[in-house]
């Protein structure tokens, strides 16, 4: 277990040393600054007396919050895949893995250590970005996002899910094939999510089913939809439609499926890596 932590630290340190963290942090701060400025001016307009009613004001604030988090979700997913897509396949291809595996550690410790290292990094990233958006909305607009913790938690699960899938791909395929696979799956889920949303809007069950099936292939979009559902305003909830949420809300069962999916992906990654000739 101690060696798992050594690998985790190595993974984290590599991201830091290769300036991945710096780039993500710098762009993250720029994103938050732009978001804050934008939100500040919209909010200033909202507060002008007689401009809009109290309910509408909070609706617009919620809309801006969701817009911010939508981007954070996308960026976090990118971070999860781009940082980890190369980690196993790249080390196998370059041969740096040889001196690691020849040490008295188990192969699962390498996979778990990498998962842990990237997991910590992505958690910090999501906290900075997602937490930043939620905080800014509160500090500037005085608006408390409903179920913010639950929403961010689901976004976190989404990031870990994609991380584990990317580790599984990396234990099996080349870096490029892995990247194509993970983004391809993400794309299917993304498209399926929108088909489901419109399907539910026009009450077409086939379209909804397509969405559900694509969520079974990889439940990443479903997790975002559920997160958005949790954090939406009561009015939108009553209307049942906005660009970010859908009338067809992923059920808690889908969250259970996503957790199961993430765990199985990691276990399979361990299995694949253990069997692999290096």
């Amino acid at each position: 277990m101690r060696t798992t932590l050594v690998i985790a630290r190595l993974t984290f340190r590599e991201a830091a040393r290769r300036k991945i963290l710096l780039a993500a942090l710098a762009l993250g701060v720029i994103f938050l600054v732009i978001y804050a400025i934008g939100f500040y001016y919209v909010n200033k307009d909202l507060n002008r007396p007689g401009n809009v009613g109290l309910i509408e004001r909070n609706e617009i604030r919620n809309f801006l919050l969701m817009a911010g988090l939508y981007v954070v979700n996308f960026l976090s997913v990118m971070m999860a895949v781009l940082t980890s897509v190369d980690t196993l396949s790249g080390e196998i291809a370059s041969g740096t893995i040889h001196t690691l595996v020849a040490k008295p550690l188990q192969r699962w410790e390498i996979v778990l250590g990498k998962c842990l290292g990237f997991g910590v990094m992505l958690t910090l990233y999501l906290l900075l970005m997602g937490g930043g958006v939620v905080m800014l909305v509160y500090l500037i607009g005085g608006y408390v996002a409903p179920n913010a913790l639950r929403g961010l938690g689901l976004m976190w699960l989404n990031v870990i899910l994609l991380l584990n899938v990317s580790l599984l791909g990396g234990a099996t395929l080349s870096t490029l094939a892995n990247g194509v696979l993970v983004f391809g799956m993400y794309g299917i889920a993304f498209l399926g999510g929108w088909i489901e949303q419109f399907g539910s809007f026009v009450q077409n069950q086939t379209a909804v089913n397509i969405g559900i099936i694509s969520s079974l292939i990889i439940p990443s979009e479903a997790l975002w939809k559920r997160a958005a559902y949790e954090m939406q305003s009561p009015l939108v909830q009553a209307l049942g439609f906005s660009p970010f949420t859908s009338g067809s809300v992923p059920s808690p069962l889908m969250i259970g499926y996503a957790i199961f999916y993430a765990v199985i992906a990691l276990l399979l990654a361990v299995r694949q890596f253990r069997r692999r000739d290096l």
Binding site: G95, T96, P104, L278
Partner: protein
């Protein structure tokens, strides 16, 4: 972990300890390519063992199977008494891979610390060992430099340091001198000599035969993943030798008289070529020639080189 019997090294108990390497009928097939056909080998404790063969003979695959990097298709074996593939077997094993690709964003010192931590070495021990090893391989002035800036030879040195961090009982070196200049090669030779003196077993995978000739106790010749012959190096090089003689006044009678010592005699004017079973008869041969009025200008014995032997055993086709 520290209570494991493996960690208690007593040199006088070597005979009771399991062999450093013991493999039996090891086989590895990749798809339809047989990398290692049938490898049976025992390396005793304290030996410096040379593993020789042409490129593609399966040497690296064999080393990787020993370390659990590759799982054998068939056969089994033990290193330091632990079945292949088990992590605890690698606790007291050092390894320098052939292509020495390391995490090049680390500094030399960080790199050694990382690998020490993977050996689960304590902080104090690392504090002592890391500078010791940097000094040993002559990289102390570059301790804070990133590996990215290292030359091939420097990488090989830091790789070697990494393999010796844990004061291993068995060191596996895959072509350790292939990227080194003469100074680096001598360093590796000296390190191997020191390891032998300390009772460490060294398994040296090489095709640089002159290196092997100087450093190894025993060698195995392998081709197509089969051990063709295993020999004690001393026996090999101290065996048969050829003697080139340059002398004036040789008569057919004198020449034929040499056959009592020599396995074969070839005379060509002033040149004589003899094949002897050993060097013990050289003074007698010299005396014989001088007493018969022959002027001897040169009498040079030449051991059969490992290279000659390699080609004799492995063939000239390079294992293709």
């Amino acid at each position: 972990m520290h209570s494991m019997p493996l960690c208690i090294v007593q040199k006088d108990a070597n005979s009771k300890m399991p062999a450093a390497i013991e493999i039996s009928k090891l086989r590895k097939v990749f798809g339809d390519k047989v990398a290692v056909a049938d490898l049976t080998l025992t390396v005793e404790r304290g030996e410096v063992f040379g593993f020789l063969g042409p490129n593609g003979a399966g040497k690296t695959t064999a080393i990787k199977m020993l370390l659990g990097l590759i799982s054998p298709t068939a056969g089994d074996g033990k290193i330091l008494g632990v079945p292949l593939g088990e992590a605890r077997g690698r606790q007291r094993v050092g390894f320098l891979p052939e292509h020495f690709r390391f995490h090049d964003w680390l500094t030399a010192e960080e790199f050694l610390r990382l690998h020490g931590e993977l050996y689960q070495m304590s902080a104090e021990r690392l504090k002592r060992r890391v500078p010791e090893l940097l000094d040993l391989v002559g990289l102390e002035p570059h301790a804070g430099k990133r590996l990215r800036a290292f030359s091939k030879g420097m990488l090989q040195r830091i790789g070697l340091a990494q393999a010796l961090l844990n004061e291993p009982e068995l060191v596996l070196l895959d072509e350790p001198t292939s990227g080194l200049d003469p100074v680096g090669r001598r360093l590796v030779r000296d390190i191997i000599r020191d390891l032998r003196q300390g009772g460490t077993t060294v398994f040296l995978n090489s095709h640089l035969l002159s290196e092997v000739e100087i450093t190894c106790d025993r060698v195995a010749f392998i081709k197509h993943g089969v051990v063709l012959r295993t020999s004690v190096l001393q026996d090999l090089v101290e065996g048969e030798l050829t003697v080139e003689v340059r002398a004036r006044g040789l008569t057919p009678g004198v020449v034929s008289g040499l056959s009592r010592w020599s396995l074969s005699v070839r005379a060509d004017g002033e040149h004589l070529s003899l094949t002897l079973p050993g060097e013990a008869d050289l003074p007698d041969i010299n005396r014989y020639l001088v007493e018969r009025g022959v002027d001897v200008y040169a009498l040079s014995p030449k051991n059969i080189s490992l290279e000659d032997l390699f080609i004799q055993i492995v063939g000239t086709d390079g294992g293709l």
